[in-house]
């Protein structure tokens, strides 16, 4: 029974992975990747690790890939064009690396079958939520906290990078969601970054409204 499920989901995972690489449309690739994640989650369930399976679906399939799909949709990425291979010299190296990987897999299967492991403790408990939680907050507390600080740094870094210039500039003092009235926008000291420099396309009426002097042109009549 378990073997049947393994073949089903492993086949699904491999099929989706191949489709991920072969597809030309980036959105189809993204959908294939979601398929891979879900198939992997199902494999985790058969390996008695339901918590990892659930987290795999929530985090990868449910959160990260949604953002990827969003970006692809918003940017409207064109279909990828097949260009002739330029670095032909890399093909033998790729083949070699692939064969090493394959040999590794064969060796592991052989090794596992030659030395059937005898579990030292009850393995069915390892994948349960309580044992994972207990491990994270006792034995592996330091790595866990370090990881959380790393993630915090990533968030702060992303915000810092996104906050330079434009509406999000610190000087602009406008955050998304704030209602900025056009009248307030005229307060040039406060929203200096919002008002882009006067360009060749700025109409005379707009300049009048903003109180910008027409330079190099005849003074107002």
């Amino acid at each position: 029974m378990l073997g049947l499920f393994f073949i089903l989901f492993a086949g699904l995972a491999v099929g989706c992975a191949i489709s991920l690489v072969v597809q030309r449309n980036p959105l189809y690739s993204a959908i294939s990747l979601i398929g891979v994640f879900i198939a992997l989650a199902c494999l985790y369930v058969t390996l008695a690790a339901p918590f990892i399976a659930a987290v795999q679906v929530i985090v990868y399939a449910g959160a990260i890939m949604v953002l990827v799909v969003f970006v692809i949709m918003l940017l409207n990425v064109e279909e990828e064009e097949r260009r002739p291979l330029r670095l032909r010299s890399l093909i033998p190296i790729a083949l070699m690396l692939a064969s090493v990987l394959f040999a590794e897999a064969v060796f592991i299967i052989y090794f596992v079958q030659a030395n059937p492991a005898t579990p030292t403790r009850n393995v069915s408990d390892v994948g349960l939520t309580s044992s994972i939680g207990g491990g994270l907050f006792t034995t592996y507390l330091l790595p866990f906290e370090v990881t959380s600080i790393l993630l915090l740094m990533a968030i702060v870094g992303a915000i810092t990078l996104a906050r330079t210039g434009g509406l999000l500039s610190p000087r602009a003092a406008v955050v998304p969601g704030d209602v900025v009235l056009a009248k307030e926008m005229l307060d040039r000291e406060k929203y200096i970054d919002v008002l882009t420099p006067v360009s060749a396309h700025t109409t005379k009426e707009a300049k009048d409204l903003l109180g910008i002097e027409d330079e190099g042109q005849s003074p107002k009549t």
Binding site: L27, I31, P50, F51, A54, V57, G62, V66, V69, F70
Partner: protein, 357 residues
């Protein structure tokens, strides 16, 4: 052989649960139209069958026989895939909800009223729900219509934002019960007469309100129904869908309503707990479905009462009020639990009133 028998029983259980739930969902649609009619001082559909009783059947037939129009230049495969994802993701959560306690039936012996029971049932529900977003986002994209695309992104953004508040709102309950298994969470809420132990009453009022608001937004219902605001914005992700494919989205929406109501019942209203359940276990099923129907009525009531949010109000409310409130709830629950306040309360109730679990 045993495995086959087990599998057969599972399939039977799924069949029964789906039939019951789908029937209830179909009649929710009818009830919605009738109750809305009542609220707005009109009759609602009452022509098909006695009192409009066969209206869901008529609606279904209409959906089946309508012409199925596929927009030219749509992305075919994804266009067909999207309603399937939405429906499957909506239906898949059905298998983990405990509909009742173990029941002794004449021929079958002891029957468990939950299709499958496992360690991370709550996380499973959240995970499958989060996959449902793809149905909407892909539907909007594949229709090759800018209104559909904008509508799809709008709905997906809303669902992602409120999913966070929804999940955080549930953590309080998880902290208290110390398990993610829905059946044990229900069993812990037994209490006096099956009522005094409900999480809602004593311990998680804030979590319940947060969950309820987030769940209404998550299912795209009034007052958060921007995804289908056909009076103000173009309907959105399902603009280009017709006939049975539209019916699938429609079905997914109502099944989602049903599942979030079931989750609310399970986590906050004591699931199948109620008076005399210990003597007559099959009463539990009726209590459970009755509580779910109460939630569905609340949905319809809200739809007849409230106006719609603006999109920026929706986002502001979700991120600036709901998420911080959920975090406060988590900290508060953890602190009170650490101080032993809940145990003290339970002991107090038991000694003073004879209540308690």
């Amino acid at each position: 052989m045993d495995e086959l028998k087990h599998l057969g029983l599972l399939m039977l259980g799924i069949l029964v649960a789906f039939t019951v739930v789908m029937t209830l969902v179909a009649y929710t649609v009818l009830a919605e139209r009738r109750v809305l009619g009542f609220i707005q001082g009109r009759l609602g559909p009452n022509r098909v069958g006695p009192g409009g009783f066969l209206q869901p059947l008529a609606d279904l037939l209409k959906f089946i026989f309508k012409e199925d129009i596929v927009p030219d230049k749509s992305t075919r495969f994804v266009y067909f895939l999207a309603p399937i994802i939405a429906t499957v993701a909506a239906l898949m959560t059905m298998v983990v909800y405990p509909f009742g306690p173990d029941v002794n039936l004449p021929l079958l012996g002891t029957v468990r009223m939950v299709i499958t029971r496992f360690d991370v049932a709550l996380l499973y529900v959240l995970g499958v729900t989060s996959v449902g977003v793809y149905g909407i986002a892909l539907a909007g994209w594949s229709s090759n219509n800018k209104y559909s695309l904008m509508g799809g992104l709008r709905s997906a953004a809303q669902m992602i934002s409120y999913e966070l508040a929804l999940g955080l709102g549930l953590i309080g309950v998880v902290l208290q019960s110390g398990t993610l298994d829905l059946q044990s969470i229900v069993e812990q809420q037994a209490g006096h007469l099956g009522i005094s132990g409900w999480n809602l009453i004593w311990v998680q009022p804030l979590g319940f309100i947060i969950y309820l608001i987030a769940a209404i937004a998550e299912t795209n219902r009034v007052p958060f129904d921007l995804p289908e605001a056909e009076t103000e914005l173009v309907a959105g992700f399902h603009t280009e869908y017709s006939a049975m494919k539209f019916a699938l989205f429609f079905l997914a929406e109502y099944v989602n309503m049903f599942t979030v109501s079931m989750l609310a019942t399970t986590l906050f209203l004591g699931g199948w707990n109620g008076p005399f359940v210990h003597k007559l276990p099959w009463l539990g099923v009726f209590y459970f479905l009755g509580k779910v129907v109460l939630f569905l009525f609340l949905y319809i009531w809200l739809r007849g009462t409230l106006p719609r949010f603006r999109f920026d109000q929706l986002m502001t409310f979700g991120w600036k009020y709901l998420v911080p409130a959920a975090m406060v709830n988590i900290v508060l629950t953890a602190t009170l639990q650490w101080l032993g306040a809940f145990d003290y309360l339970a002991g107090f109730l038991k000694t003073q009133t004879g209540w308690g679990g």
